[in-house]
């Protein structure tokens, strides 16, 4: 069985798509060197470097997608979408509506996200729940190499704008580039099953909007995405020793949410814990509360999220990110309440 690293899987799926579909092109800052293996196979017309002009090259991606290309636009970090948000909020997300449904912008925005390696608050945000507020944007947050490759393929076949977030703590490439810089003197709490894993011999698109139950459980359902899924799984293991049966649902797609899977999982346990590395308020954790309440499911509820700007100091950072300890404490609390 083939195994791959996380980013390797994405690039591999991308290579497969590029070989199959000449409309797929990549661009972004430093892309010629960051995606050099794609550059030397597909050439500089399809793998392009940009100036540091995110609002323009992202906006250009939208328009290029409208006129026949399938651009994968990379931004250095999801945080930097701040300078280019107009392209998503007022353009990518609006083309379909404004054209009366006749036109779409099938572009993929690829961006590293997430923290845990000491880069500080302007460089470690998650923002998936923020982006998901905008109607018509599809938001994918894979947690394993197999999902990452399969969802990238799905993104490239999707008929509208997709944001594909690549957690840096799962990415051997990004961690090496940004976090360790090849020193052996720093360690990060990398979830092994997310960083490297089995992948299919040929990529097939995974369905967008489909969650996956990573672990069954009867007492509480932990719903998460990205690195949070691995933290939740580790916590569930710890809790098992205490006789607590915690399930873990990996959303994989933040928008659109897999409402049936969420409702089923929560209805079964009667308890919902959301683990979300994105900011706590007005985001994914709230939306999940609304989804279950709307479905008329009564449950007890808690959330372990990032509540503030992420601190630079590693220790403070670890405490701010959803970690195993906070998850376990929150589950125990939820179980006590009733």
């Amino acid at each position: 069985m083939k195994t791959m690293f996380f980013t390797q899987a994405i690039d591999d799926a991308l290579a497969q798509s590029m070989a199959d579909d000449p409309r797929v092109i990549l661009f972004g800052e430093d892309i010629p060197l960051m995606r050099r293996n794609l550059l030397v196979r597909f050439g500089p017309e399809r793998v392009r470097g940009t100036p540091i002009s995110e609002s323009t090259f992202l906006g250009a991606g939208v328009a290029a997608a409208m006129t026949g290309l399938r651009p994968v636009v990379e931004v250095y970090m999801v945080d930097f979408l701040g300078v280019a948000m107009d392209a998503l909020l007022n353009h990518a997300a609006k083309v379909k509506a404004f054209s009366g449904g006749k036109w779409t912008a099938p572009l993929v925005v690829r961006a590293p996200c997430g923290g845990g390696y000491g880069d500080g608050g302007q460089h470690e945000q998650s923002l998936w729940g923020w982006l998901a507020h905008i109607p018509e944007l599809t938001i994918l947050v894979p947690s394993t190499p197999a999902d990452a490759g399969g969802l990238m393929l799905a993104a490239l076949q999707h008929d509208g704008p997709v944001i594909f977030l690549e957690h840096k703590l799962l990415s051997e490439t990004w961690l090496e580039f940004l976090g360790s810089g090849a020193r052996r003197t720093v360690q990060f709490d990398v979830p092994a099953a997310g960083a490297k894993g089995a992948v299919p011999s040929k990529w097939r698109p995974l369905p967008i909007g489909k969650a996956i139950l990573r672990r069954a459980g009867d007492d509480v359902m932990i719903v998460s995405v990205g690195v949070g899924v691995h933290r939740a799984q580790a916590a569930a293991q710890t809790l098992e020793a205490e006789g607590i049966s915690a399930g873990v649902l990996d959303l994989r797609t933040v928008s659109p949410l897999d409402k049936p899977a969420i409702c089923e999982a929560v209805a079964h346990t009667g308890r919902l814990l959301v683990v979300d590395e994105d900011y706590e308020s007005f985001g994914l954790s709230g939306e999940l509360a609304a989804v279950v309440l709307e479905a008329g499911i009564s449950c007890s509820y808690a959330r372990v999220c990032t509540q503030t700007t992420l601190p630079y100091a590693r220790q403070l950072e670890d405490q701010s990110l959803p970690n195993q300890q906070r998850i376990c404490a929150s589950v125990r609390q939820l179980l006590q309440e009733q």
């Binding site: 392009r48 906006g59 991606g61 328009a63 409208m66 290309l69 107009d86």
Partner: protein, 342 residues
């Protein structure tokens, strides 16, 4: 090859009459929200659009109607869109600031400056998928201060994209005299971003046509982007019902509404000293006075009239053409308005 002034005049006239009809529907309350017309900039739009071919794309601003009409979009579809009909160009979902035509590779945006990235993206597609095709961006001089538009000029230059940036410079951004908030010279600015730049009198359709021909030809043949700055005057001000124009056109009604609170504030105790207050007052008055001395009143500023004057010797042909354009428009209006909702 000289421009075909007859054809250009026909494009402009069609657009002018259509927009005048739109203005009257807007005044009648049949069109909602803001309404920015292109009246006054027709020579720029016609002079550029006349060069476009199948496969070329256009990124439009909040005044996109003229360009779409001249590009061949069915006027009935636009009209129905503006009226909010479900069978309008965009199913009633877009409205006048968000007119899209996939068939014509044309997209509008109400976000000032967004035409830059859009045109660059269109040009990228052209470069990769449709060699020989180009993209055009239309925007105002105010938009030249929007970062993404400046970035776009640079990216077009770096990627040597087939795109022509057309700056319709009327000197105003709503109530702001653009010269007051713009440093340097816009043409130099484009050059500082690596884009070949030229200036032209945007009220003279032949001049625009001639000025943009080499730019478009160069872009088509892989020579890279160009920037064209064309000065014009918007005959209806920023948008329909524009306050500054209203003050001039209906001073008795509008002036007191403005002047009474303004005087009250000017005299109100607490605040700046007299010198600063006067400087503030001067700013307001200058905007009003600029409207009074409005170059709109000068017929030389009306590109349609100017083109007509150049053709007036062949009066019969002119009359025939005009009758034809009017009739076509009337047909559209009649067909659409019959079924307009109450």
């Amino acid at each position: 090859m000289p421009p075909d002034l007859w054809a250009l005049y026909a494009l402009m006239l069609e657009s002018r009459l259509f927009e005048e009809a739109v203005a009257s529907l807007w005044h009648d309350g049949l069109i909602s929200g803001e309404m920015h017309l292109g009246t006054g900039e027709e020579a720029i739009v016609a002079g550029v659009v006349a060069h476009l071919r199948e496969g070329d794309a256009m990124a439009l601003d909040h005044r996109g109607t003229a360009a779409l009409l001249m590009r061949g979009v069915d006027p009935a579809l636009i009209l129905r869109e503006l009226l909010g009909h479900p069978d309008g160009l965009c199913g009633g979902m877009g409205g006048h600031m968000h007119l899209f035509s996939k068939e014509h590779l044309a997209a509008s945006s109400g976000i000032v400056g967004a035409e830059g990235p859009a045109a660059v993206g269109f040009a990228l597609s052209a470069q990769v998928l449709r060699p020989g095709a180009i993209a055009v961006a239309f925007f105002g001089e105010g938009a030249m201060n929007q970062g993404m538009l400046m970035e776009s000029l640079n990216l077009a230059s770096a990627w040597n994209l087939p795109v022509v940036f057309v700056c319709k410079d009327d000197g105003w951004a709503i109530t702001t005299h653009s010269a007051r908030v713009t440093g340097g010279d816009l043409t130099d600015r484009a050059r500082g971003l690596g884009v070949q730049a030229a200036e032209v009198d945007g009220r003279d359709v032949s001049a625009v046509w001639e000025a943009c021909r080499p730019a478009i030809e160069r872009a088509r043949s892989g020579g890279g982007p160009a920037f064209l700055r064309a000065r014009c005057v918007h005959l209806e001000g920023h948008f329909l019902g524009f306050q500054l124009l209203r003050m001039v056109r209906e001073p008795l009604r509008e002036m007191p509404r403005i002047a009474v609170p303004l005087t009250g504030a000017f005299l109100h105790p607490g605040g700046a000293g007299l010198r600063e207050r006067l400087a503030g007052l001067r700013t307001v008055l200058e905007a009003v006075l600029a409207t009074l001395r409005d170059p709109r009143r000068d017929p030389a500023n009306d590109p349609v009239r100017r083109a007509r004057a150049a053709l007036h010797l062949e009066e019969a042909r002119l009359e025939e053409l005009e009758a034809q354009v009017k009739e076509a428009l009337n047909d559209v209006l009649a067909a659409t308005l019959v079924e307009a909702p109450a």
